[in-house]
């Protein structure tokens, strides 16, 4: 296949960026999207140009490092998929593809398609953990947790922290990311104890990081590679309301 690529190039956070045109021949349908980018970069390097910087690591959909806007969609045209798992068979010969970084005020651009998602780490720092030190744990089977409860906690805990939810949201809200961690821990007896304090401080951090508000468009769930449900957001709001009232 032959592709016409329009890729966002920006040398650092302070510089102005722009879309640059590239043509790429001999793209094979079995290639992953990132392997297509590798092929382009190989050609750029050989010409003495700077290759396109993009985030990626595990290339099996679990590390959450990759992510770009492909034709305006976070992680590209297929729902619930990371960029590394998107394959070129989803495109046609002669297609023009727009490739841009994840867009959000809270995710400043570092270079080309790489963005700074450290705001997510700071949200976790605000309370996305159980306060247990190494060595304090009781016997694992001491507190039974029903199969359904464990499975439901897993569904929330599966988030890979890629940021597609933020990038796809018209408000750049991090509600899905934040609520997934709040729900995961609130659904388990081990995390329940701190849930009131946790929800208040994580939501505050989310606001401080310049993420927008959630207006329930549910766009995030469509793009989420782990299919994290928007019901987590409902749960976060519920936990938040109760915790705010009971705080006094």
């Amino acid at each position: 296949m032959k592709l016409y690529l329009k890729i966002w190039r920006q040398s650092d956070a302070a510089s102005e960026g722009k879309l640059v045109d590239y043509e790429l021949d001999n793209v094979i349908p079995h290639m992953s999207f990132l392997e297509m980018m590798d092929t382009l970069n190989e050609q750029l390097v050989l010409k003495g140009d700077r290759p396109v910087e993009f985030d990626h690591d595990c290339r099996e959909g679990i590390c959450g490092q990759c992510g770009m806007m492909i034709n305006g969609q976070a992680h590209g045209p297929i729902a619930n998929l990371t960029t590394c798992q998107l394959h070129m068979r989803e495109f046609k010969d002669g297609d023009t593809i727009y490739v841009e970084p994840f867009r959000a005020l809270a995710f400043p651009i570092k270079r080309d398609l790489r963005v700074d998602r450290s705001a997510f780490d700071r949200i976790i720092m605000a309370g996305g953990f159980v306060s247990v030190n190494t060595g304090q744990a009781p016997e694992a089977n001491g507190i039974p947790i029903t199969h359904e409860q464990a499975e439901s906690a897993f569904d929330s805990a599966a988030c890979i922290g890629c940021g597609a939810c933020v990038a796809t949201c018209k408000n750049s809200s991090a509600a899905l990311f934040t609520s997934a961690k709040i729900s995961h821990l609130a659904k388990l007896p081990q995390g329940k104890m701190e849930s009131r304090k946790r929800v208040l401080s994580m939501v505050k951090q989310m606001d401080d990081e310049n993420f927008g508000h959630c207006t329930n468009t549910e766009a995030c769930e469509v793009e989420c590679p782990q299919q994290i449900s928007v019901l987590n957001i409902a749960r976060m709001n519920w936990e938040y309301s109760i915790s705010s009232v009971l705080k006094k």
Partner: protein
């Protein structure tokens, strides 16, 4: 130089207790005066950093990823072993110890392996307390699955994302300490050298990958938890950024490397489909609980798998290893697959795969049950191959996966440089010549949570009088000069080939000559070839851009420069071990049935290698292995 593993005295089952009872302690007031550097934020690194910070030490934690949560432990799928005996199926610490020693083909230390099994139960407790959502039975108690190489069910799991969930547990523990300001976290920082002062590890030189800035950091001890280097084969199940640079540079500063050629080739990865391919995706070994592996009886079969009748299928693992069947250990399963593929029975467009078939399990247990157990793996398979494995068998193939070898460490997980520790996959310690499934997550966690806090404290207790070291010390200046020179050297070549070109060339060579099977002639050939590739690398590499800015190509080139040296040592290591054991299969040493033939008389040792300078052959220093509790048996899974 004699290697002393510092194994505590006493009976096997009391050694770790003896160590803990006698290890030196640092009092809480002194701990805050002591600085610890931890490189890597996978399970071993984040667990060690969080645990040491909880104790009161000042910790600096480094990772090259953009968040600590992305380290490659995240990708482990199937599970984590622990001798809880929740299934009442005869499991015990001793049995787990024995399975692991046997699985490693009797090439690991008894005391280390016993400690691993001993600490396993505690790890499950710790993870559950952190909120890791392990799979549970309907009654609310923890569930287990079986894994290869054992006959009990001792594997705890969180669907097919156990590594992710365990890592999120340790990442969250780490971030809790970052919030408490006991840990200072440096993401997107790559370690480029260890600084050694008066023979002791006292700091690191790192490069900020976002700005290109070179930084010096000093401490009282340095812990490397930088993972494995299976990515040296280019096509592997590892992440693109996984590398050997941290341990290799420590090696060149005096830390011995042990058994670097012992690489596990995982039997159930997706096959290669073309030259553009950048990685091979793993399909969890847990699938072998319910999937049956087969190839057609007829070579060059062209029918679709579902059109081939039962009578024309060769379930070769069940045929060759009836006692363990599809759950034979990884080295044996991979070799058996290679044997069938090489004999012309491979399937798929490139004839490089075997089938993993779930039709029997789906018939017996229903699609719903299979979906619950492996749903995400089937989804992943469909996303990558556009094939529905509920309907058609998966196609799988062996792929480079785990480094059993790594930095030589003693019982305290300390390298031959005092004050430099190596944890998790970065060390060689517990798996011998072959790692059992679901033992890697365990080892990383146990090293980080339960061993390092004791052994690092024991070391630091002897350092309380040593002052904080200024990074203006000559050793830091020298190390930085060297690091800068190395980076400039790569940039100045300005040749015509990319770093990836060299990586792919090297990877193919290693698969052919230092992969699933090795031979004397092949290894000699490979060493000569590696020297040529390395020479060409420094003559014809092209890296655009500079070293004072973000430069992904420069990062890659640095790692590949190191790989080109590691590769030579791997081949030398394989060449000097005239026996077959575990993952190390020398064609000259096999039984008439094609099974590995060990030579306990001559090779019952760990090969530790000492760097002697550019262009000089490394020196082999053997550490003899003493077996006092188990008998060296022929490893049979028949």
């Amino acid at each position: 130089m004699e290697l002393n593993a510092k194994i505590p005295p006493g009976p096997l089952k009391d050694k770790w207790s003896f160590y803990k009872d006698h290890a030196k302690l640092v009092n809480p007031a002194n701990r805050k005066k002591m600085d610890v550097i931890v490189v890597g934020t996978g399970l071993a690194g984040s667990a060690a950093a969080a645990s040491l910070a909880e104790m009161g030490y000042n910790v600096k934690s480094f990772c090259f990823q953009d968040s600590a949560r992305r380290a490659h432990s995240v990708a482990a799928q199937g599970g984590v072993n622990a001798a809880k005996n929740y299934k009442n199926d005869g499991d015990s610490v001793y049995r787990m110890f024995y399975d692991t020693i046997k699985g490693g083909d009797f090439r690991s230390r008894e005391a280390n392996v016993y400690r691993l099994a001993e600490c396993s139960a505690q790890l499950i407790d710790q993870a559950v307390a952190q909120g890791v959502p392990f799979g549970r039975e309907y009654g609310g108690y923890l569930n287990n699955r079986s894994f290869g190489g054992v006959q009990v069910s001792r594997t705890f799991y969180a669907r097919g994302q156990t590594g992710q969930q365990l890592l999120l547990g340790s990442y969250q523990a780490l971030m809790r300490q970052v919030a408490a300001k006991t840990v200072k976290l440096y993401t997107r920082h790559e370690m480029l050298d260890v600084v050694v002062v008066d023979g002791k590890a006292r700091g690191v030189i790192v490069r900020n990958l976002d700005t290109g800035e070179i930084e010096r950091h000093s401490a009282h001890t340095v812990i490397l938890a930088t993972g494995g280097f299976g990515k040296i084969y280019y096509l592997s199940t590892l992440a693109m950024g996984c590398n050997a640079s941290a341990i290799w540079r420590a090696h060149k500063k005096g830390a011995l490397m042990a058994c670097p050629s012992w690489t596990q080739v995982h039997p159930t990865s997706l096959p290669q489909s073309g030259d553009y391919q950048s990685k091979l995706t793993l399909m969890s070994e847990s699938l072998r609980n319910d999937g049956r592996i087969w190839v057609p009886l007829k070579p060059s079969e062209n029918r679709k798998p579902n059109d081939i009748p039962e009578s024309e299928r060769d379930y070769y693992l069940e045929r060759r290893y009836p006692a363990f069947g599809n759950l034979a250990p990884r080295d044996i399963s991979s070799r058996a697959a290679k044997e069938r593929i090489d004999a012309g029975f491979g399937v798929g467009p490139q004839k490089n795969a075997v089938y993993l078939d779930f039709s029997k399990a789906i018939k017996e247990h229903g699609k719903g049950r299979i979906k619950e157990k492996y749903g995400n793996l089937f989804d992943m398979y469909r996303k990558i191959t556009a094939t529905d494995a509920y309907v058609e068998p998966m196609m799988i193939s062996p792929a480079a996966h785990f480094s059993m070898g790594g930095l030589w460490v003693d019982y305290e997980l300390m390298t031959t440089i005092p004050g430099l520790f190596a944890l998790g996959e970065a060390n060689f310690a517990d798996h011998g010549a072959n790692r059992l499934g679901a033992n890697s997550l365990l080892q990383a966690c146990v090293d980080g949570y339960f061993i390092a806090p004791y052994t690092v404290s024991n070391y630091l207790a002897g350092e309380i009088k040593s002052e904080r070291l200024s990074t203006d010390h000559q050793a830091f200046i020298d190390a930085e000069v060297q690091v800068r020179a190395q980076l400039s050297k790569l940039l100045e070549i300005n040749g015509t080939k990319t770093a990836d070109y060299y990586h792919k060339t090297l990877g193919k060579l290693l698969y052919d000559y230092c992969g699933l099977s090795r031979s004397k002639d092949g290894l000699i050939h490979a060493i000569a070839e590696i020297k040529k590739i390395r020479e060409d690398f420094y003559k014809d590499l092209k890296v655009p851009g500079g070293d004072d800015e973000m430069n992904g190509e420069l990062e890659k080139a640095g790692r590949i420069g190191d790989y080109l040296e590691v590769a030579e040592l791997m081949c030398l290591d394989a060449l000097t071990r005239d026996e077959s054991c575990g993952a190390h299969f020398r064609e000259e040493y096999q039984t008439p049935e094609g099974e590995a033939l060990r030579n306990d008389e001559k090779f019952c040792f760990v090969s530790a290698w000492k760097w002697r300078g550019e262009g000089q052959e490394e020196l082999l220093i053997p550490e003899p292995l003493h077996f006092e509790n188990v008998e060296l048996a022929v490893r049979s899974y028949k």
